[in-house]
């Protein structure tokens, strides 16, 4: 059976056409401009006929729970389609699916919605991007929980989970299902984007700076953009009893999503301890990455990424051969994982695909200077050991909105302040 990169509320019998997504072909809704217009108008009116708050939150949570059961048909469908579409290994997909859906829990949804101060936008449009699974789901769940209808444009790199989640929602509550639509279209001026600008009250968009700039030109008045971001980690060896669990936690955060997510650390700053301590941490990190590479094989990296990883490895190796106190530890074959120990504070972006820099940091307060221009792009910092008052306050002072225990960076809760915004940004009217 061919999969679908779309889900439309019952009533319409749309034409569909096939499109390529990664290595799979999927069916996408093929609507005429007049049908798109009718669909969005209908969706917007459905916000008024949603079930009561507690009922819809319970239904959303039940729909999410289905994906925690690997035997559920929808979860199986997701596990079947996602590797070919996204390029992540089947093992990785099986690992991350429960993490994605476990976050959509009833208590947190209820708590956030209860704190909402004002009215919500009747129709929230969400434009997802990238191949990291489930990027749009938290906003989708929050919008419906808060009482908005919701149109999702699924990402070219991951058009699977939003339609399946919509199907699960419809199965739990027909009213929720009829207030949800998922579609895919090629970005650019077209009937979909014109209609979103005309009819949606708010647009939440994900993507590169370039893509965001293009979307912004045709966005409704309320527009929340989530550009590409990066994350970092901070480890205090002076407080660590042993390095192994910290290295294990760091390796997990690097490994999940092959480091392609905005919550994936690109650099680990190590304070406390001496050079020997750092060396022990780096060695333990390498062992953990190797172990995880066997449990959660990396997806295929494009040749450009492999070459970029080799370029960094080569540079560090030759700097080491020239006598600099730098070091590279790497997988025996391929570019599966790489640990680069740099001697200086500072920051340089990683070529990703499990390539992690480790740098010394004399004091946590020095992080702002070390990151320089990268600071404003930092989405999240993972910290170990946890809790750590001094580091947490130093990070808060430097303006990093999300500080979490190392090893939990890739399991954001719905309270995650994405891009520094409150969870209901773009959904609540007052939070525009």
């Amino acid at each position: 059976m061919i999969g679908r990169a779309g889900w439309l509320p019952p009533g319409a019998e749309p034409r569909e056409r096939e499109e390529s997504f990664g290595k799979r072909r999927l069916l996408v809704p093929d609507l005429a401009p007049v049908e798109i217009h009718a669909l969005l108008g209908r969706l917007r009116r459905r916000a008024e006929t949603l079930p009561a708050r507690d009922d819809r939150i319970a239904a959303i949570a039940r729909a999410a729970l289905r994906f925690l059961d690997p035997a559920d048909p929808l979860a199986r469908r997701a596990a079947d389609l996602l590797p070919g579409v996204t390029g992540f290994s089947p093992e990785m997909i099986r690992e991350v699916l429960p993490r994605i859906f476990a976050a959509l829990d009833e208590a947190t949804l209820g708590g956030i919605v209860a704190e909402a101060r004002g009215a919500v936008h009747p129709l929230v449009a969400i434009v997802a991007a990238g191949n990291v699974p489930g990027v749009a789901l938290p906003k989708m769940a929050l919008a419906l929980a808060a009482g908005s209808a919701c149109l999702v444009k699924c990402a070219q790199g991951e058009p699977v989970l939003a339609p399946l989640f919509a199907a699960a929602l419809a199965a739990e509550s027909a009213a929720l299902g009829s207030a949800t639509a998922v579609a895919w279209w090629k970005g650019g001026a077209n009937a979909w984007e014109e209609e979103v600008q005309r009819t949606a009250d708010s647009l939440i968009a994900y993507g590169s700076d370039e893509a965001i700039a293009g979307i912004a030109r045709r966005a409704p008045a309320t527009f929340v953009a989530h550009g590409h971001r990066l994350s970092i980690a901070l480890v205090d060896l002076a407080r660590a009893v042993t390095v192994e669990p910290i290295a294990e936690a760091a390796a997990l955060d690097v490994t999940l999503y092959d480091q392609l997510g905005c919550l994936s650390p690109q650099c680990i700053y190590v304070t406390g301890g001496d050079a020997a301590g750092r060396a022990a941490f780096v060695a333990a990190l390498a062992r953990s990455l190797e172990r995880l590479a066997r449990l959660l094989p990396r997806g295929e990296a494009p040749a450009e990424a492999s070459a970029a990883i080799r370029r960094v490895r080569d540079e560090i190796e030759w700097r080491e051969l020239a006598g600099e106190p730098v070091r590279v530890l790497a997988s025996d074959t391929g570019t599966t994982w790489t640990v680069i120990e740099e001697a200086s504070e500072g920051f340089r972006p990683s070529p990703l695909y499990r390539t992690i820099f480790v740098r010394p940091l004399a004091r946590a307060e020095g992080l702002r200077a070390a990151l320089g221009a990268a600071l404003r792009r930092v989405e999240c910092a993972g910290v170990a050991p946890w809790p750590h008052e001094e580091i947490a306050s130093a990070l808060a002072a430097s303006g990093i909105a999300n500080v979490v225990p190392l090893g939990r960076m890739q399991s954001p809760t719905l309270r995650w302040r994405q891009g520094g915004n409150p969870p209901l940004a773009g959904i609540e009217r007052t939070s525009a």
Binding site: G87, A129, G130, N131, V132, V135, G157, Y206, S208, D209, H226, H228, R229, L230, S231, Y257, D258, Q259, L260, G261, C262, S264, Q266, A301, P302, A303, E304, A305, S306, A307, A308, R310, R311, D314, E315, E317, W318, R319, L321, A322, T333, G334, T335, P349, S350, P351, L352, G372, A373, A374, R377
Partner: protein, 354 residues
Amino acid sequence: MFAEIRQFIESPDPARFGELALAVFRFQYDGNEPYRRFCQRRAKDPATVHDWTGIPAVPVSAFRHADLAVTGPGEGRMFLTSGTTRGPEMRGRHRVADLSIYRVAALRQFARWVLPDGARPRLLVLAPRFAEQPQSSLCQMIEWIAEAFTGAPAEYFVAGGELRVAALVARLRELEPVREPILLLGVTHAFIRFLDHCQTEGLRFRLPYASRIVDTGGTKGRSRPMSRNGLLRAFWEYFGVPGYYVTNEYGMTEMCSQFYDDAIRNHVEGHKRDRAKIAPPWVRTEVVSAETLAPVPRGERGLLRHLDLANVGSVAALQTEDVGVEVGEGFEILGRVEGAEPRGCSLLLQEFVG
């Protein structure tokens, strides 16, 4: 070792390539300390490597970080990469101990692929004089070519970093009616700049029969990009030089041997086949996967890895970031490996603008 390699280049015996490659590896392992340490980290040494394909290849970028020369045979001459894409501090340095090997390798390849008919055309150069850029391997090579193959003195049309457009226009107009072939030799971006000028000014030339063009290097960052076919079309349109008299040179500062398209030779010898770059008998080229560095199946694209015996004084086995594919008896260059498209939502290297 140097004499042996020079002799091999002068009268190659392909059957001896493997044996010589291993001898060069031993010579470099013993005499080139940074290279030896690089090999030791990979647990490779002359005792364990029995085939030239197993000789550890140094990434070309290593020439930016280390003086990768065999010590002993004297200072030689240091050539520097242009460093245009990564800034002057990141220029690669290649010390060539024995210039005579470099010279004979360069001239033999040029004669074989550019002048296979024995022509001795007038040489117009779209690159600086060697005296102006004595650290440029390309300028050195052009000077050798000018000395060896042309009757008249070579004429240079780049000076002080500027292409002397008006002077080149005037000279081409003068030479058009003279029934002697011209060889236009220069860097690709200078050609593109001149072609743009011709287009703007509505200029067209009809160069004498058997005139030919050799362009070298890419266009990146220096001029507008142009495809190989677009360039061939423009050479025909603006110079009247057909594609079979145009060849592209591929070389690098870090490597003493060069490659040329086989187009001119194919034309002269009457072969009809797709243009490809053919390694000289003293070079072997493999196409390898960027991910594993293992050879890819024939026809698949990958990174080019060369083993160049003419590099006897530094490192013979070089891993490049040039993307290529095997074609016919040789390979074709598809460009440099670029940054990856962002797939996830993490900020990527090339998106990072501070």
